[in-house]
């Protein structure tokens, strides 16, 4: 592979990506793109972000050799990139800090965001509290129900939570409503998108802010193992934690890259969120990418036990990486993810979020007694506190007070 240089100036990753929004938003996206280009070269901005990463988030996140899990697998040597140790408990904060600094720079005074699992909502509410900006979070009412701890967190942080009752009442619909809010409040509002989805420049910008994960992992593994990893594994909903890990390795063709999607009740059922395994290219939320849709182009409702992966679209860069075969994508069911959730807790003393539990499930499935002597970095992008009630219910444990 030649030097990877995506997207182009119109936000295209191959054919994917682009800007499919109404004219009301176009001038804003162009403005955002230009402002983003400026701050990339702004040393003061980068210094401020670096400082926040270190002292507010707690970066660099550790690279943990998961010895017990590795022994259990009797296969590769597994390392966890521990972004679940970040302040707020997931990788989402990396991107939110970048975007809120940009919002400040652009003179915006009101922040909106969508959230599924609540991790991005919590991260957004956190940075809004830190910078003293009013924060409005759109969240599907179904997700509000299944992610109560995060709802309370956001409220404590001073955010206004707007329940979304349309469609499937989850992440996709929250994003529709956030976009509508933005169209209505174009002048003062900055929309912090939490994934590598949406119109250009979001997929690029979010990837860049998240790529701190991959950059650190690269340095860390080179120091420990004196060589690059053989595999990278991350879960993919919209795909921000995965892009963050993958991006700094894309030019290293010996590093094999695996994205794991949520296949819900199974990739061939109607209750799946495995967009790239079960979907076709289409347009959702301003970007051309794989989507779950019917023959008429109506977007289907996704299903996953993990609210963070419960999204019928995927970031355009993943669609591109899939098509050029630079990365491979597989689906993992709710059940497999739940098993991995429990196994990781017992073996490593780390309760993972349900999202990276999908990546763990694939690791366990595909690498048991295989790939001996190889090394793997798995992005443990979130911790499981928020999922305790959902998991308890699914496992059949009465966790009510």
């Amino acid at each position: 592979m030649k030097n990877y240089n995506q997207p182009n100036t119109l936000g295209r990753f191959g054919d994917y990506g682009g800007m499919y929004v109404s004219e009301t938003l176009m001038p804003l996206l162009i403005d955002l793109d230009q402002s983003y280009q400026k701050i990339q070269k702004d040393k003061k901005f980068q210094k401020e972000l670096k400082d926040l990463f270190k002292n507010y988030v707690g970066r660099p996140s550790a690279l943990h050799h998961a010895k017990n899990l590795s022994a259990y697998l009797n296969g590769p040597k597994v390392y966890f990139k521990r972004d679940e140790l970040n302040h707020t408990g997931a990788h989402k904060i990396n991107n939110c800090l970048g975007q809120i600094l940009l919002a400040k720079k652009m003179g915006k005074t009101r922040i909106i965001a969508e959230t599924g699992a609540g991790q991005h909502g919590v991260a957004t509410a956190t940075v809004c509290a830190l910078f003293g900006l009013p924060c409005h979070i759109y969240m599907g009412s179904k997700d509000i129900e299944r992610q109560k701890p995060n709802v309370f967190r956001m409220k404590l942080l001073g955010a206004n939570i707007i329940p979304v009752e349309s469609g499937s009442k989850s992440l996709k619909d929250a994003m529709n409503e956030a976009l509508r809010d933005w169209i209505k409040n174009v002048r003062d509002t900055f929309y912090i998108i939490g994934s590598t989805a949406g119109p250009h420049p979001y997929p690029k910008m979010v990837r860049d802010f998240q790529s701190v994960i991959g950059k650190e992992a690269r340095e860390q593994i080179l120091k420990i193992e004196k060589k690059l990893p053989d595999y990278l594994i991350a879960c993919v909903g919209g795909g921000s934690n995965a892009m963050g890990l993958f991006y700094p390795f894309l030019n290293e063709k010996k590093v094999q890259i695996i994205g794991v999607e949520a296949a819900g009740k199974g990739p061939k059922t109607n209750q799946t969120a495995a967009t790239m395994t079960s979907g076709t290219p289409g347009i959702l939320h301003g970007s051309y990418s794989y989507v779950l849709q019917d023959n008429d182009g109506q977007i289907k409702e996704a299903h996953s036990i993990s609210a963070g992966l419960d999204y019928p679209g995927v970031g355009p860069e993943h669609s591109y990486l899939k098509d050029i075969k630079r990365a491979k994508y597989y689906g993992v069911t709710d059940k497999e993810a739940l098993n991995a959730f429990q196994l990781c807790s017992k073996l490593e003393g780390i309760i993972p979020a349900l999202e990276p539990s999908h990546a763990l499930a694939y690791l366990i499935k595909a690498f048991k007694n295989k790939a001996k002597g190889k090394t793997i970095i798995l992005n443990l992008c979130g911790r499981g506190d928020k999922d305790l009630f959902t998991a308890a219910k699914a496992i059949g444990f009465d966790a009510d007070e």
């Binding site: 009301t24 001038p27 976009l179 509508r180 409040n185 849709q293 182009g297």
Partner: protein
């Protein structure tokens, strides 16, 4: 000849309605009623599952239409059927790009050729339009340009350079069915647009009553108005009584035809 090239010079009325709303068979009756008043333009909304630029009323109408499982093909057939009895009104389709892409752009154009005079692709901005616009041009279907209060003059000049049919000026920053109308600002922007194009400038978003229509006519140099959400709202106001709805539509359209 494209009907959008023969629009009157003043007080143009364009009416929007979602295809398949409330049901496919009732939808035909709704459109028959609207077309019997011979508005200058009719806009057929194709229902989409994720209409991110539309407000709650049009969203709801899409949802209801999709509940009775209307397909793109059925909507296009309905439009073609209506065309047979309507010689005066210009036909325009308003939809989201994914609907067209999934149908196949070439197929879609083949279906609407000689039926439809223009198309509004809500989420296809100028930057992405080239290949579709070429195909539409070849088939004498005008790609209608939306201009928002956020569009600066430099940008609108580029957008309107090859614009045909009419300009859809979004009168409020917001989604369809929004509230506030600032006539002074609308007029200022409409005047600026009229310096950049010879085609009519129509004002849409937030126009709900005869009063609004009169005010636009009196206070601005806009060539006409677009009404959408207000036509659909009546259905919900009347607690989904279809017979009453048709009567109220009739009364409302008579009022707004000034």
């Amino acid at each position: 000849m494209n009907k959008l090239d023969q629009l009157p010079s003043k007080k143009i009325l364009s009416l929007f309605m979602t295809c398949g709303f409330p049901t496919l068979s009732q939808s035909k009756k709704v459109f028959d009623e609207i077309l019997s008043h011979q508005p200058d333009i009719i806009e057929f909304g194709l229902p989409f599952s994720d209409p991110m630029a539309d407000g709650p009323i049009i969203q709801e109408s899409s949802k209801i239409a999709l509940k009775s499982k209307i397909t793109t093909k059925q909507s296009l057939n309905l439009i073609a059927q209506l065309k047979k009895n309507s010689q005066k009104t210009a036909f325009v389709i308003m939809c989201y790009l994914n609907t067209v892409q999934k149908f196949g752009v070439q197929n879609f154009i083949k279906e609407i050729k000689n039926v439809v005079d223009g198309i509004i692709l809500v989420d296809l901005p100028f930057e992405e339009e080239k290949s579709i616009k070429n195909l539409l041009d070849k088939n004498n279907i005008h790609l209608i340009k939306l201009i928002s209060p956020m569009t600066d003059q430099k940008r609108s000049k580029r957008l309107l350079k090859e614009a045909k049919g009419f300009v859809y000026y979004i009168s409020a920053t917001g989604i369809t069915g929004s509230n506030k109308l600032d006539y002074k600002e609308i007029n200022k922007n409409v005047l600026a647009l009229k310096k950049q194009t010879k085609i009519p400038v129509l004002v849409g978003f937030g126009i709900k009553s005869k009063k609004d229509v009169m005010a636009i006519s009196k206070n601005t140099k806009a060539d006409g108005v677009i009404i959408g959400s207000a036509l659909i709202q009546k259905y919900f106001d009347l607690k989904m009584n279809f017979t009453k709805y048709i009567i109220s539509l009739r009364k409302f359209i008579k009022e707004v035809k000034i």
